[in-house]
């Protein structure tokens, strides 16, 4: 590889906990690398497995899903659903020869700006070690 590989991460964050956590990280000036692009959704339960696969197909090296802590979901059970979806999607990815570690679910509350930054840093390094996503760009023939 001529240049050092910089992972591209798409993060889906729920409005009520994780995105507020990211906001807190911002207002607290907590530093984390710029490899991640966050997309706010109302609830992690909104995240369809199609979103995860599409992000991977279109070039994301990793997909982070942030939801409330179990028991704290604003809509009661969205984060449980998201967690089970992530588990099943990981199983599918493994069958398709894509590293399941590229998808990660984390419970991040509105007060955990530090945790968000830590998770992002940690995930970027994990993906850096994995290398580029083999299906990026849909060129998978």
């Amino acid at each position: 590889m001529p240049e050092e590989f910089e992972p591209k991460i798409i993060g889906f964050l729920c409005n009520w906990c994780s995105y507020a956590g990211a906001d807190l990280a911002g207002t607290s000036r907590t530093q984390y690398p710029p490899n991640v692009v966050f997309i706010r959704v109302m609830c992690s339960g909104r995240i369809d497995a199609q979103f995860i696969l599409k992000a991977l197909k279109e070039g994301a090296d990793g997909v982070l899903i942030g939801g409330c802590h179990f028991g704290d979901c604003h809509y009661q059970s969205g984060n449980y659903k998201a967690y089970r979806r992530v588990l099943l999607t990981k199983k599918l990815l493994a069958e398709l020869g894509v590293e399941p570690e590229r998808v990660r679910f984390e419970q991040i509350s509105a007060s955990e700006g530090e945790k968000l930054a830590r998770v992002v840093r940690d995930f970027i390094e994990e993906i850096r070690a994995l290398g580029p996503n083999p299906i990026a760009g849909g060129g998978n023939d």
Binding site: G45, D48, A49, Q50, I52, L53, K54, L56, K57, F70, G71, S77, Y80, K81, Y83, R84, R85, L87, L88, T89, K91, L92, L93, E95, L96, G97, V98, P134, I135, G138, N140, D141
Partner: protein, 327 residues
């Protein structure tokens, strides 16, 4: 069969398919006579003795409608897809394999090398001491023999040529075939690119009562002794109905068998498997999730066997991730 000047010209072709779609054409029973009244069939390898060169000799757009079943996995099939596209005014992808790759599309979980190894060398019933596998050409004393090239990746028809209409199903049900033929004869086809099936999912046509969508655990069909009169998903059986386009009148459900998804994605769904996987994960363990640990949930999900084969039984080549990444 004589060619009538005012009659439509039809062609039928099969690529990577099982032959069931050919039978489906005959499932319209005596109505086939009305079809022959309205149209001449110029090309139909399963039923007529006609050669590829006869098709090659036709003018472009000479055929009015070509019904093309089967996925594309060899160079011969790709050649015929391109040839029939050029010779036909309207090209219809007929059946699950042509529309979404179908069951042959599951070969995208392997590649040519693995498939040849299994089929020609390693199967317990295979006796092949000289380890012969298909080659695209071989020299014998009479000359050179050739075979079409076998591709690593199975494709749907629309991934190879432009397709005008899609007629889904494994095979397409006779009433959808008749509706399509009627629309062709009356020159009343919907806009190009349409799927010639209703805008509803299989559940809409299913006879089972829908009460409340939640599952304690996944069961396989053989583990259920007595089917109750309620939604199979609610009984723990994975049924692809919610993510699958209807039009089939839920025939499988009438036989107490779950939908396996041959109708392809429901309208507004791009990836049928991911959509169904999403729906299933939502309702699995819904009742008791607040009492479950992460390990319990993982155990529950682990019971879903063969994720790709279950959720992408007919659509792997057209799904977001169209094949396995080979190491």
């Amino acid at each position: 069969m004589t060619e009538g000047a005012d009659k439509l010209k039809f062609a039928f072709y099969w690529a990577a398919s099982c032959g069931g779609c050919e039978i489906a054409v005959l499932d319209i029973n005596e109505k086939i006579l009305d079809v022959v009244d309205a149209a001449d069939i110029l090309f139909w390898p399963v039923a007529m003795d006609i050669k590829y060169k006869d098709v090659e000799a036709m003018d472009d757009k000479y055929i009015d409608v070509c019904f093309f079943n089967g996925a594309i996995r060899t160079s011969e099939q790709e050649h015929m897809a391109k040839l029939l596209r050029a010779k036909s005014k309207t090209l219809i992808a007929f059946g699950a394999c042509a529309v979404n790759g179908g069951i042959p599309g599951l070969a995208n979980l392997a590649n040519r090398e693995e498939i040849f190894k299994t089929a020609y060398l390693e199967n317990p019933s295979t006796d092949n001491p000289e380890k012969v596998t298909p080659k695209t050409s071989v020299d014998v004393k009479e000359g050179t023999l050739t075979l079409p090239e076998f591709y690593d990746t199975v494709k749907s028809l629309a991934q190879v040529v432009e397709v005008d209409y899609y007629l889904p199903g494994c095979p397409p049900p006779p009433w959808l075939i008749l509706d399509a033929i009627e629309a062709i004869v009356q020159n009343n086809l919907p806009p190009k690119g349409s799927v010639l099936a209703p805008l509803k999912c299989v559940c809409d046509e299913c006879r089972f009562k829908k009460v409340e969508k939640k599952i304690g655990e996944i069961k396989r069909v053989y583990e259920v002794e007595k089917i109750e009169d309620k939604c199979l998903l609610e009984q723990g059986i994975i049924c692809m109905g919610p993510a699958t386009r209807g039009g089939c009148r839920a025939r499988c459900l009438d036989a107490n068998m779950p939908c396996t998804g041959c109708g392809g994605p429901a309208p507004n769904v791009s990836d049928q498997g991911a959509k169904m996987l999403t729906a299933l994960a939502s309702i699995l363990g819904l009742d008791v999730e607040d009492k479950m640990s992460e390990e319990d949930m993982a155990e529950l999900i682990e019971k879903v066997r063969d994720v790709a084969g279950t959720f992408y039984k007919y659509t792997l080549p057209t799904s977001l991730i169209n094949r396995k990444v080979m190491k």
